[in-house]
C-alpha cells in the first residue's frame, strides 16, 4: 500500500485525434512501464479496431512509477478515456476516479467541440485541469493561438500550459512534473468502511468479470466479502491487482489506489459501471454519487445475410455484451430479411464499431437497416408506446401524438463556415440557440435538433461543408412532440418492411422521391420490370421503375472460354447470394443503407 500523499490519479482528455493515445504511450515508455522494444504503438488501445481507426473505445487504466524532480517516487494512475462523443459516459465515469487531468489540445487544430465538452465534464468533476498543447512538432503548430483559445473559450488559465510532442517525446516529462505538483493527492479515510468506484469492467474468458476500481475509503483486499451496491450482489474477492499494463496481483489496494478486482462473476450485467463496491457486512450506507444506467440512443436492425447464421449472431452479441454494457438487443423479425436483432447503441460510431467487430471477429455477413431512434408514441387511448423500429409504429389512426428525442448540439468552426453550418442545420430541423466567438478563429454554435436528423449523415455533411474543420458534440435533451409519419417503400407493389422509416411530415415527399431515385440506381435490372414506390399509408408519393433486363449473354464460348465463363457465372451467382430476395426482387445490401445517404 502506498502513502496517498505519493499517489496521483489523472486522466488524459482530448478531442478525437489530438494525440492522446500517443502521449499515453510516451508516459509508459518514460516511466519504463513498457520497454521500448515491447512497445506496440498505442499500447493502451488494445482492440484491433481501435488501433486501425486510431481511436480509443474502452477506457483503460495503468499504473506507472515516476521518479519526480523532488527525489520522490510517485505512483501515477493513468486512466485513458475514449475521445468520441458516443462514449461521453465512459469519459465521465473515468473522470470520477481521478483528481486531475491533462487536457490535450492539438497545437494546430486548436480547441474543438469535444475539447469543450470534456473540459466541462472535468470542471463538473472538480478536477485540476492541466492544459497540454500537443503536436508542437507539426509545421502548422501555433501554440500561442491555442493558448489563447483555451483561456478565452474554456476560461482555463493557460500560461502554465505544457507544450508537448507525443511524436518526439518532447515535454512529456514536464507534463508528468505538472501532474505531481498540481494534481492533489487523493483524500480518503483508511479506517472507514470500504468504498471503491467501478469505472470500467471487462470480461475475461477464464476469470469472469473483472472490474476496474478506484478505492475512495478503506482497503480492498483479496478474500473479502464485498457487495456491489446498485445490484446488491455479494461476492468474494478472488484477486486484486494493478495494471502495468498487464495485470499484476497485489495483496491489497488502499486509499486512492487504482486497480482491478476479479469478481468470479459470470454475468457481466450485475457489475455496473459507476457502481460502488463496499463490504458485505458493516459496509458503507450510501454509495458514491454519479451512477446512472447507460441508455442506447440509436437503434438498427442487424440481420445475417445467410439466415443460418442467426444463432451465431446471437452468440456473438452475447459475447460482445460481456465487455460492453451499453450494447442492448432484442430479437426482431422482418418479412424481407428474416430473423435478426434490433440492436441499441450509444451512437453511430458505436454502431459501426460493433457491426465491424461482429463481421470481423465472428465472421458474420450482416445487413443493417437504416438506424432509428426511440420514439414515444401516445395513442388515442392514452397509452404510451416505445418504438425503436418503424415496423412497431402503430396504425396512424391510433396515434394521438409522437415524440422524438432532441439534443443540444454544439458545433465549433472557423467563422467563415458559420453560414454553411446554418444552412445545413436549417435543413435538418435544427433550432439555432446562440453562438459565441472562442477566439478570432473559432466560433462556438449551439443548436437544438432531433437526434433522428443527426444520425442521417449529419456529421459527414458537416465535415464536408466545412472542409473538415467543424467539430461536433451533443447531449441528450429529452423527448419533444413532432409531426412524424411512417414512410413505406414498395417494390413490385409490395411494402418492404426493412425499407420503411419514420420521417417528419414536411420532408416525407422529398425524401421519398430521392430515395426511390437512389433505389432505382442501386437495384439492378431484373428479368421483369420492377416499380419502386414511396407511400404513406395508401398514398403513393413517388414512383420510379427499374426496367427489365433485355440482354445478358456472353456470346463467345469456345474451348478456351468455357472455364473462364463458368467461373464468371459462379461469380455472378455469388454476387446474387449477397443480395436479398425480397419477394421476387433481388435487392443488393446497399439498398437497405441507401436511406442513410439521402442528400436532399
Amino acid at each position: 500500500m502506498t502513502d496517498p500523499g505519493l499517489i496521483r490519479n489523472f486522466s488524459i482528455i482530448a478531442h478525437i485525434d489530438h494525440g492522446k493515445s500517443t502521449l499515453a504511450d510516451r508516459v509508459l515508455q518514460l516511466t519504463h512501464t513498457v520497454e521500448a522494444r515491447d512497445m506496440v504503438e498505442q499500447v493502451l488501445d488494445s482492440m484491433d479496431i481501435e488501433r486501425e481507426r486510431g481511436i480509443t473505445i474502452k477506457a483503460q487504466a495503468v499504473r506507472v512509477m515516476y521518479d519526480a524532480a523532488d527525489g520522490q517516487t510517485y505512483q501515477l494512475n493513468l486512466i485513458d478515456t475514449p475521445g468520441h462523443v458516443d462514449f461521453t459516459y465512459e469519459v465521465s465515469r473515468s473522470l470520477q476516479a481521478c483528481e486531475g487531468c491533462l487536457l490535450v489540445v492539438d497545437a494546430a487544430q486548436g480547441v474543438e467541440a469535444q475539447t469543450v465538452a470534456n473540459a466541462l465534464m472535468a470542471m463538473n468533476a472538480h478536477l485540476e485541469i492541466i492544459p497540454v498543447i500537443n503536436k508542437i512538432d507539426l509545421p502548422a503548430a501555433d501554440p500561442e493561438r491555442v493558448r489563447h483559445e483555451i483561456e478565452e473559450g474554456l476560461a482555463i488559465p493557460a500560461d502554465e500550459a505544457v507544450l508537448t510532442s507525443g511524436k518526439t517525446g518532447e515535454g512529456v516529462e514536464l507534463a508528468l512534473e505538472a501532474v505531481v505538483r498540481r494534481v492533489p493527492a487523493p483524500q480518503g479515510d483508511a479506517d472507514a468502511p470500504l468504498k471503491a468506484l467501478i469505472f470500467d469492467s471487462y470480461f475475461d474468458t477464464y476469470r469472469g468479470v473483472v472490474a476496474l476500481v478506484r478505492v475512495i475509503d478503506g482497503t480492498l483486499r483479496k478474500g473479502l466479502k464485498v457487495r456491489l451496491m446498485a445490484t446488491g450482489t455479494v461476492i468474494d474477492v478472488e484477486e486484486v491487482g494493478v495494471r502495468r499494463p498487464a495485470n499484476l496481483p497485489v495483496a491489497e489496494l488502499g486509499v486512492g489506489e487504482v486497480g482491478y478486482l476479479i469478481t468470479g462473476l459470470k454475468d457481466p450485467s450485475v457489475v455496473k459501471v459507476g457502481d460502488t463496491v463496499t463490504l458485505a457486512v458493516h459496509g458503507a450506507d450510501t454509495p458514491l454519487p454519479g451512477y446512472r444506467e447507460v441508455k442506447p440512443m440509436v437503434f438498427t436492425g442487424l440481420f445475417p445475410i445467410d439466415g443460418d447464421q442467426y444463432p451465431d449472431l446471437r452468440d456473438a452479441l452475447d459475447r460482445l455484451k460481456l465487455n460492453d454494457p451499453a450494447l442492448v438487443y432484442e430479437p426482431e423479425s422482418s418479412h424481407a430479411l428474416g430473423f435478426g436483432f434490433r440492436v441499441g447503441f450509444l451512437g453511430l460510431l458505436h454502431m459501426e464499431v460493433i457491426k465491424e467487430r461482429l463481421e470481423r471477429e465472428f465472421d458474420l455477413d450482416l445487413l443493417a437497416t437504416a438506424p432509428s431512434v426511440e420514439y414515444h408514441v401516445y395513442t388515442t387511448k392514452g397509452e404510451k408506446v416505445i418504438v425503436h423500429s418503424p415496423q412497431d409504429m402503430p396504425d396512424p389512426a391510433m396515434i394521438d401524438r409522437v415524440e422524438e428525442p432532441y439534443l443540444t448540439a454544439q458545433v465549433i468552426v472557423p467563422p467563415e463556415f458559420v453560414g454553411a453550418v446554418m444552412d445545413l442545420s436549417e435543413s435538418r430541423r435544427a433550432t439555432f440557440k446562440n453562438m459565441q466567438y472562442l477566439s478570432k478563429t473559432t466560433v462556438d454554435m449551439h443548436y437544438e435538433m432531433p437526434l433522428s436528423e443527426l444520425i442521417m449523415d449529419f456529421f459527414d455533411q458537416l465535415k464536408s461543408r466545412t472542409r473538415g474543420y467543424a467539430s461536433l458534440d451533443y447531449e441528450f435533451l429529452g423527448h419533444r412532440p413532432s409531426k412524424l409519419v411512417k414512410l413505406d417503400i414498395l417494390l413490385a407493389g409490395k411494402a418492404v418492411d426493412a425499407l420503411s422509416f419514420i420521417v417528419h411530415k414536411d420532408k416525407a415527399y422529398a425524401r421519398g422521391k430521392v430515395l426511390t431515385e437512389r433505389l432505382r440506381e442501386i437495384i439492378p435490372r431484373q428479368m421483369f420490370e420492377v416499380p419502386i414506390q414511396a407511400a404513406i399509408g395508401g398514398r403513393i408519393l413517388a414512383r420510379e421503375t427499374v426496367r427489365a433486363k433485355r440482354k445478358d449473354v456472353l456470346a463467345k464460348c469456345y474451348g478456351g472460354d468455357i472455364t473462364r465463363k463458368r467461373k464468371l457465372l459462379e461469380k455472378q451467382k455469388k454476387g446474387k447470394k449477397r443480395m436479398k430476395n425480397v419477394g421476387s426482387v433481388e435487392v443488393p445490401q446497399e439498398a437497405f443503407m441507401a436511406i442513410l445517404k439521402v442528400d436532399e
Partner: protein, 402 residues
C-alpha cells in the same frame, strides 16, 4: 454431324481426341477491345520456334499411339495468317504427324489485312477448307473505334478471294459497337451474305477490363455499349439472316445448313479436344488424361474429365508448355454439357436433364420463358427460347449452379 459420332473409340479407354485446336499468338497490332493473349513484337526466330514447338506437340501426341483420327483442325489466334507460310506449314505438319481423316474440316482464322492473294493461295494449297475472316464491321467509323487495321474495301477483297479459292467463308461481325445504328448493322450483315459467307459469327461487343476501349468508355471519351441496342441488333441479325437462308445454330453462330463449324460444335457437345500452343485449352476424358500423364490414376476415381491449358506466355511455353488444369466430376460434366448444349438451337435431350437432377431448375426456366420443351416421350428435348438467347447467362448460370 454430331461430334460424338466422330469419336470412334468413345468410352472404350484412352483415345486421341478428334478435334485439335492450335493457338498462334502473333498479331500485327492489338485491337482496342481485345484482352486475349497475343504478341505484336516478335521476329522470325520466334515464329520458327513456335512452329517447331507446335510440331513437337504433334509428335508427342503421335508417339502416344492412341487410337483415333482427327476430324477437325482449327488454327486460331492471335492472327494465324499474319506470318507468310506459317499456317500452311502447320496444316501440312498436322496432316503428316497426326492422322487427319479424309474430308477433315480445317479452319484458319485470319484478318482481312493478312489475307492477300498469296496467303489465301497458300492455305488452299495446304488443304484448308474454311477461312474465318475477322471483318467485325463494314462501316469505317466502327472499324476505327475497334482499332482494326483494315477498311471495308480490304475486307470485301479478302472475302472475295476466299470464296473464289473454293474455301468456305465464315465472317465475324460485331454488334453493340458504340455509335452503331440499326442501318449500319443491317448493311454489315447484308454485305457479308452478299459476299458469299456461308457462316457468320455474331457477337455483341463486350468491354473487357483494362482494354483501351474499356478505358476510353470508363473515362467517358466513348459512349458505353448499350445492352438494349445490342439486344435489338441480335434479334435483327436472327431475322435478317434467316430471310437469307442463314440459320442460327448456336447463340452467336449462323450457317447455311451443312456449313456449320464442326469444330466449334465439338466444344458445345462435350467432345474431347486437344489444345496446342500458348494459352490453348484442351479437354480429355479421364482415361486419356491418365494415359498421357496429365492425371494421376491414384487420385482419379471421381474425375470424369480434365481440362488443361498450356502456359499463356510464349517464352515460358517454349521451355515447358504445361500450364494448369482442372478436373471435373461426372456430375459437373453432366451440368457443363447441359449448359453448353443449351447454347445450341437443337438443345439437349430432356432425359439428360432428368439424369442430372435438373428438372426443377428447368421448370423454373420454362416458367420464366427462357427455355421450352419440344416433343415428348424419350425424344423430348429442352431448347432455349428467343428470350433465352438474349438472357443466356440466366440459363447457363442456373444450369451450372444446379
Amino acid at each position: 454431324m454430331s461430334a460424338s459420332s466422330d469419336t470412334l473409340f468413345e468410352a472404350s479407354g484412352p483415345a486421341l481426341p478428334a478435334h485439335v485446336y492450335v493457338h498462334i499468338p502473333f498479331c500485327a497490332s492489338k485491337c482496342s477491345y481485345c484482352d486475349f493473349y497475343s504478341m505484336t513484337e516478335y521476329d522470325s526466330t520466334l515464329v520458327e520456334m513456335l512452329a517447331r514447338g507446335i510440331e513437337c506437340a504433334f509428335d508427342r501426341w503421335a508417339l502416344a499411339s492412341l487410337p483415333g483420327v482427327v476430324s477437325t483442325l482449327y488454327l486460331g489466334g492471335g492472327t494465324p495468317t499474319v506470318e507468310p507460310g506459317l499456317a500452311a506449314r502447320l496444316i501440312v505438319s498436322a496432316r503428316e504427324k497426326l492422322m487427319l481423316r479424309d474430308g477433315a474440316e480445317i479452319t484458319v482464322e485470319g484478318n482481312p489485312d493478312s489475307l492477300g492473294a498469296e496467303r489465301v493461295g497458300e492455305l488452299a494449297a495446304a488443304g484448308c477448307t474454311r477461312i474465318s475472316v475477322g471483318v467485325q464491321s463494314f462501316a469505317a467509323r466502327e472499324l476505327a473505334l475497334l482499332g482494326r487495321r483494315h477498311d471495308a474495301a480490304s475486307a470485301r477483297d479478302a472475302c472475295e478471294r476466299v470464296v473464289s479459292s473454293g474455301m468456305d467463308l465464315s465472317v465475324d461481325l460485331m454488334c453493340g459497337i458504340p455509335g452503331q445504328t440499326m442501318a449500319s448493322w443491317t448493311a454489315s450483315l447484308e454485305r457479308a451474305v452478299d459476299l458469299g459467307a456461308k457462316h457468320l459469327s455474331v457477337y455483341p461487343l463486350s468491354l473487357e477490363e483494362d482494354t483501351p476501349l474499356a478505358v476510353a468508355c470508363g473515362s467517358g471519351l466513348v459512349a458505353e455499349p448499350d445492352p438494349d441496342a445490342a439486344a435489338a441488333m441480335m434479334l435483327l441479325a436472327e431475322e435478317f439472316l434467316a430471310s437469307r437462308g442463314v440459320h442460327r445454330y448456336e447463340v452467336a453462330n449462323y450457317a447455311v445448313p451443312g456449313h456449320e463449324s464442326r469444330h466449334n460444335i465439338a466444344y458445345w457437345t462435350g467432345a474431347s479436344y486437344l489444345g496446342v500452343g500458348p494459352a490453348a485449352h484442351g479437354m480429355l476424358d479421364a482415361a486419356t488424361a491418365v494415359a498421357v500423364g496429365l492425371l494421376d490414376s491414384a487420385g482419379a476415381e471421381d474425375v470424369a474429365r480434365v481440362r488443361y491449358w498450356e502456359r499463356p506466355d510464349l517464352g515460358a511455353w517454349l521451355t515447358d508448355p504445361r500450364g494448369e488444369s482442372e478436373t471435373l466430376t461426372a456430375d459437373e460434366v453432366a451440368r457443363e454439357d447441359l449448359m453448353l448444349g443449351l447454347r445450341l438451337v437443337k438443345g439437349v435431350p430432356k432425359r439428360s436433364v432428368t439424369a442430372a437432377g435438373l428438372d426443377v431448375v428447368v421448370e423454373d426456366l420454362v416458367g420464366d420463358g427462357l427455355v421450352e420443351l419440344a416433343g415428348d416421350g424419350p425424344d423430348a428435348r429442352v431448347r432455349t427460347t428467343s428470350r433465352g438467347w438474349l438472357l443466356g447467362n440466366e440459363v447457363f448460370g442456373r444450369i451450372w449452379g444446379g
